[in-house]
């Protein structure tokens, strides 16, 4: 049976933590640096497209805004996931997590409060990017297609998933250092596997029988497939591609899977925090 009184208190506590974290994040200079860099990356890509159109009279792709927007949200997503990774580990390291747990703060309200603050920030940035892209389209005189807005919708779900991964890494880490290390290892491993696979694919095996290159190619292909099932970035790319192809079922499936994985990581974070404890 659901205890409504307990749930009310958890929600109230989560809201208080959410407000505090959001306020702290909004006063962080790093946020503005990352936002500016993201927008500049987007502008540079669009400018290159416009130069291409000017010199060739051709559109390089049907939706000019989709690719730069993807870059913008990947940069923002990684930053927010990283700040989520640091947020909890830092509180545990400095002892302020223990301070919070002296009072009526439990694992659920704490994780939800932390997560919702990061996600709200992400949503605010998406709105900011939308405004920037609308201004850019107005200046360039290029219409933003509907698919762009669909991609924006999808990015909310993949971003939510990415942040939940960051929160999970943070809850199970002992210190800021180990949390950062774990997160960077995760990203570096994904990049390494992707690069290695591309490299190995370029090598033509001399023989089909018992060739170690073939075996490695196969192994990395499996890992790559597994990663594509887990990576929020893969979901974003796959969802956008399918949506542009008009495959709305696949698009909705990506939204559904992102939501499911996001929930799985949030619940895992709550359990992880319970097991790991509030002390360093």
């Amino acid at each position: 049976m659901i205890d409504s009184g307990k749930m009310y208190k958890q929600i109230q506590t989560a809201i208080t933590i959410h407000k505090r974290d959001l306020r702290i994040a909004l006063f962080s200079p790093a946020l503005y640096i990352v936002t500016t860099v993201s927008i500049l990356v987007g502008i540079v890509i669009i400018r290159n497209y416009l130069s291409y159109i000017e010199s060739n009279g051709l559109y390089p792709m049907p939706d000019l805004f989709s690719f730069p927007f993807r870059w913008v949200i990947i940069v923002t997503g990684v930053y927010l996931a990283f700040s989520a990774v640091v947020a909890i580990a830092r509180e545990r390291e400095s002892g302020t997590m223990e301070l919070l747990f002296y009072g009526p703060v439990d694992n659920v309200s704490y994780v939800i409060g932390k997560y919702s603050a990061q996600f709200t920030l992400y949503c605010l940035l998406i709105v900011l990017y939308l405004i920037c892209f609308l201004i850019l389209s107005n200046i360039a005189g290029i219409h933003i297609p509907e698919s762009f807005f669909m991609m924006m919708l999808l990015s909310l779900f993949t971003g939510a998933y990415l942040i939940s991964v960051g929160i999970f890494v943070s809850t199970i880490s002992k210190s800021v250092r180990s949390a950062t290390l774990a997160f960077l290892t995760l990203i570096a491993s994904a990049l390494f596997i992707q690069t290695s696979q591309a490299l190995l694919l370029s090598i033509a095996p001399e023989s089909d029988y018992y060739n170690p290159v073939l075996l490695l190619q196969q192994l990395l292909a499996w890992i790559q497939t597994l990663l594509s099932w887990l990576s929020p970035f893969s979901y974003l790319n796959y969802g956008v591609d399918e949506m542009l192809r008009g495959n709305m079922i696949a698009f909705l499936r990506v939204i559904g899977l992102s939501t499911v994985f996001c929930l799985v990581f949030i619940v895992s974070s709550i359990i992880g925090l319970k097991i790991r404890g509030v002390r360093q």
């Binding site: 505090r20 223990e98 002296y102 509030v278 002390r279």
Partner: protein, 317 residues
Amino acid sequence: MISTRNLTKTYPEVEAVKAVTLNVHPGEVYGFLGPNGAGKSTTIAMLLGLVKPTSGELSLFGTSLEKDYFTIKNAIGVVGENPYFFDEMTAWEFLSFHADIFMIDSKENRINQLMERVGLRQYANIRPSEYSRGMRQKLSFVRALLHKPDLLILDEPVSGLDPHGIRQIRGLIEEQKKSGTTIFISSHILSEVERTADRIAIMHKGKLLVEDNLDGLRYSVDQSVRVNVEVTHVPDSLSVILSDVPSVVDHNINGQHIEMRLDGSSDSDHRAEVSSAITASGTTIIGMETRKASLEETFMTFTDDNVIGLSKAGEVE
């Protein structure tokens, strides 16, 4: 108010708390003593739900954290050994945030009133990182008292404070005691506990050795009466004469001062007997006073490994 039964915490390398059974009654000040590494902080962490016990039972306000987490947490105020603060917030913002966590109505009045009480009102808009150690400790107290808790858990509340700071914190503790708040105070500044505690528990190497009021503790370790005598001069024969007095357990002569422990097992007052013996040695008594063993002396007896056998009689099961 607080009740534990065979509370145990075992880490891979060490058994930090061994089957601790303690009871804190409503409205009392409970002194929780022990040398460094005795297991006090681990016990407090278990009481607060910060560390999960390996075994044993624990109840607060007659219920458990598993059943009534929010009710219990709303009724407890905690001042930890290390005052933690959020670097990004001023003292007022910090307290306001905690008031929101506890859902306190008219938080502004409560914060201002408490800040005024501890003399921090004019520093409310400064970050705690710029505060002195004493100011930070007072701010921790304000935070712990914001929601008018029924139970105050204090872990080394005066550690690192100067005499002024200690006095102010003591004043706050006494105020809370008068208002009927139950106070659980862990400290190794024994004089502070001696002043305020109604009952005392002593932990040593993870075990709760004894739990009693101060007189009970004294009685369990040392039943003798301590007498200090000042004389005009010390004749050579005085030491021999005192050694022959049956009621004198031991004595120590230091200049014109004689410290003695008299047999306290019976109700008889042996002072007259001792006075006669001293006068018979040919000297004159200028002053005489009796005193009880201090908490420090009692504590040392309990926690001294060489005489640990003494404490076994008073060991709490």
